[in-house]
Amino acid sequence: MAMLEVNDIHTYYGNIHALKGISLEVNEGEVVTLIGANGAGKTTTLRTISGLLAPRTGTITLNGEDISGKSAHELVYMGVAMVPEGRGVFSKLTVLENLEMGAYSREDDGIRDDIDYAYELFPRLKERRKQVAGTLSGGEQQMLATARALMARPKLLLMDEPSMGLAPILVEGIFETITNINKEGTTILLVEQNALMALSVASRGYVLQTGEIVLSDTAKNLEKNPTVQKAYLGID
């Protein structure tokens, strides 16, 4: 049984049929990526899994438990955390306060250690721990959003385009961090535009097109797949 099983979900925005029967699986310990063009429905898929949107039909299970009716805040307690698209940091709070807010769902006393771990992962954040998050650079905000999601000690981390708007050198850094986080035992479902990078860190991938999964394979095979090469990797 896979850790996360998404089974034929249909999600609507009013009358707009955004997800037309998505099914996917993420096994424990994996990095799985979801790639697709703008407007394909990647964010919608993540938001549906994380409980911010409710699917009209279809089921989502986490370790065998049906979570399709659960709201986002309940899922946090079940070990699902999300790094939202466009960073979504608390812009008026400081870096440190953002991290503390990330640990909102926890009551143990390992929070201090985890903050230190976050600083270790992103030394930039340590330098700027007292700075108001809204004044961080785009890349720093992305680091903060990732670090904050980790503060919940998630078993499954949903990441929505962590490389968006970052300079190439920072993109490499972010993907390195993703690999590191995964090695520490966090399962990751990664949504990306940067298909090349995403496929290089993932073990498997799905290709989404206008609300439907059109391809699913191991990352290696997808990289070689002519359709993917043409549409997402820019190789003719």
């Binding site: 946090v76 979504g88 992103f122 700027r128 007292k130 919940a152």
Partner: protein, 566 residues
């Protein structure tokens, strides 16, 4: 002499003139001229008339910071004289044609005030001269050395403000030095000119001395104190301050007398309302314009349960104290009831819906349909005063203590909530609902609690209000109360508890004290709100988080950017 920029002088002079014309034409100058400040030399009407003119001269002189004394004096003279232009024109025009049919306030009385009662040619010349002199003095003020400017400015401000609030000042003085002495200081409501002059000079000397002393002690303590010592000193100062305020709050009604106790009561009532609304708007970020509804629920529940008229379903069962828990409960329940339908709404939509809710409640209270329960347009009469261990709280002085106790309780609860887990939930929700939810925060619960707790405070305020007035009418619960409460927390500083208190004093207390202002209360509100939003949008005493938002470009903190590294 530096360059004189005539365009600046023209612009600022005319701007001051427009302000003077405006206050004249809306009738404020005339209305306020009955209020003498210093003998019959200076009245409040003069202050309004010349305030704009002086302001123009002040800014004109500031813009010419490189000019010398003579230069700036000339600039002041010119700007001031220019400021007289529009009011003079008004006087001339109104002496030629009758303008009263359109502008009711442009009448001979106004002309008299402007021309010192001397009529058109002489009086007008005097007015232009006076404006020029006012401009000159203001401009020369900017030439004063730094060490003098502070004391002179503050002293002038205190003399004028204490004259404006002479009711309050005389009341306090009478209780301290006796009415005989006070009478010798005042003529009517105004300072005797000599008294004002002595006070002015004395205050300058005092401030001068205080500044000197502060500077000296700064120099002697230039050696950094140890942290612990500094903290100890600060603690001691805080405790002293705290005790001082405590004692003042306890004895206030007895030094201030009955009228001012009533004013304090009003302030306290709005502090209570403001603290509740502060939770909803300031902490949770939910813009609620129907807040008066909960105040009405509180007042009506208290009224219905304790009145001695036939409306009471259980006559004689409830006293103020036994009804109070029920009142708060009713407030909380209705807070939840309003909360449910608006759970999915944000910002503007929420404001509109709550606005409608507030009006619906008032109209229901007014309706014949509910008249058997709520008294309809007649309201509810004969609500008894609370009795506290045999002491009937039937005077403003005694009721003040009740509202003080309520406010202190509300402030205490507010502080505890702010620092609690719930406080952090509110803060996160205010910042970003989706992200807050993704952090594991239950938005439904968080929102409903904000509405419910805010409503509980408001209902408590309503109950005290009903017991104080003994009679309540539907029209006591109009939109203006919601607007007042909202304005005062914005002026004070969203999310800040001291801010609520300062806001209530500024927006509720001061207008009560200035009888003449009553008619122009909303105008004053408008001016104050605009000025605040321009100069200090975060409020008088802002909460830390809001200050950050508005000044995040200034205090970014942290070291300068270093090499990119992840």
């Amino acid at each position: 002499m530096g360059n004189i920029n005539w365009r600046t002088i023209l612009r600022l002079g005319l701007l001051g003139s427009v302000v003077a014309l405006y206050f004249s034409m809306i009738g404020m100058v005339e209305d306020f001229s009955n209020r003498n400040l210093i003998g019959d030399l200076l009245n409040l009407g003069h202050v309004l008339l010349y305030a704009g003119i002086a302001g123009g001269a002040l800014f004109a002189a500031r813009e010419h910071s490189e000019s010398n004394t003579v230069g700036r004096g000339l600039i002041g003279l010119a700007t001031g004289a220019l400021g007289a232009l529009l009011p003079s024109g008004l006087v001339l025009l109104s002496s030629a044609i009758n303008m009263r049919t359109v502008f009711v306030n442009v009448n001979p009385a106004l002309s008299n005030i402007i021309t010192f009662g001397r009529g058109v040619p002489t009086g007008l010349l005097l007015f232009v001269l006076a404006s020029a002199v006012v401009g000159l003095i203001t401009a020369l003020f900017t030439v004063l050395p730094e060490t003098w400017r502070g004391p002179v400015g503050k002293s002038f401000g205190i003399v004028i403000i204490s004259a404006v609030f002479s009711d309050l000042v005389r009341q306090v003085l009478t209780n301290i030095i006796g009415s005989g002495m006070v009478r010798s200081l005042y003529v009517g409501d105004a300072y005797r000119p000599l008294v004002a002059a002595v006070l002015f000079v004395g205050l300058i000397a005092l401030f001068f001395w205080l500044d000197r002393r502060a500077k000296q002690s700064n120099e002697t303590t230039a050696i950094p104190q140890t942290d612990a010592k500094a903290r100890q000193a600060k603690n001691r100062r805080n405790i002293a301050l705290f005790l001082g305020w405590g004692v003042f709050l306890l004895i206030a009604p007895w030094i201030l007398g009955s009228f001012l106790s009533q004013v304090l009561f009003e302030i306290g009532r709005f502090v209570l309302l403001g603290l509740g609304l502060n939770i909803v708007v300031g902490y949770a970020g939910l813009l609620d314009l129907g807040y008066v509804a909960f105040f009405a629920f509180g007042a009506y529940t208290m009224g219905i349960l304790t009145t001695t008229t036939a409306i009471n379903p259980a006559p004689g069962v409830f006293t103020f104290w036994t009804a109070l828990p029920i009142v708060v409960l009713v407030g909380v329940v209705f807070g939840l009831l309003l909360g449910f339908p608006v759970l999915r709404m944000r910002g503007d939509y929420l404001a509109i819906v709550t606005l409608g809710f507030g009006e619906i409640i008032r109209i229901l209270a007014l309706s014949d349909w509910l008249a058997p329960i709520m008294g309809g347009a007649q309201g509810i009469l004969k609500i008894p005063n609370p009795v506290f261990f045999g002491l009937e709280l039937n005077s403003p002085e005694l009721m003040y203590y009740l509202v003080l106790a309520g406010s202190l309780l509300a402030a205490f609860i507010s502080i505890r909530l702010r620092d609690s887990r719930l406080g952090r939930q509110w803060m996160a929700m205010r910042e970003d609902e989706d992200v807050a939810e993704a952090m594991g925060i239950n938005l439904v619960q968080t929102k409903l609690l904000a509405f419910a707790i805010g409503a509980g405070f408001s209902a408590l305020g309503g109950a005290i209000f009903a017991a104080r007035l003994s009679t309540i009418f539907p029209h006591s619960f109009n939109l203006l109360i919601s607007i007042n409460a909202l304005s005062l927390i914005i002026v004070g500083g969203l999310g800040s508890i001291p801010g609520v208190i300062v806001g209530a004093i500024a927006l509720v207390g001061l207008p009560e004290l200035l009888r003449e202002f009553q008619e122009y209360r909303l105008l004053m509100y408008g001016i104050l709100l605009i000025v605040m939003m321009l100069l200090r949008p975060e409020g008088f005493i802002p909460a830390e988080v809001f200050k950050r938002e508005l000044h995040s470009d200034e205090d970014t903190g942290g070291p300068p950017a270093v090499e990119a590294q992840v």
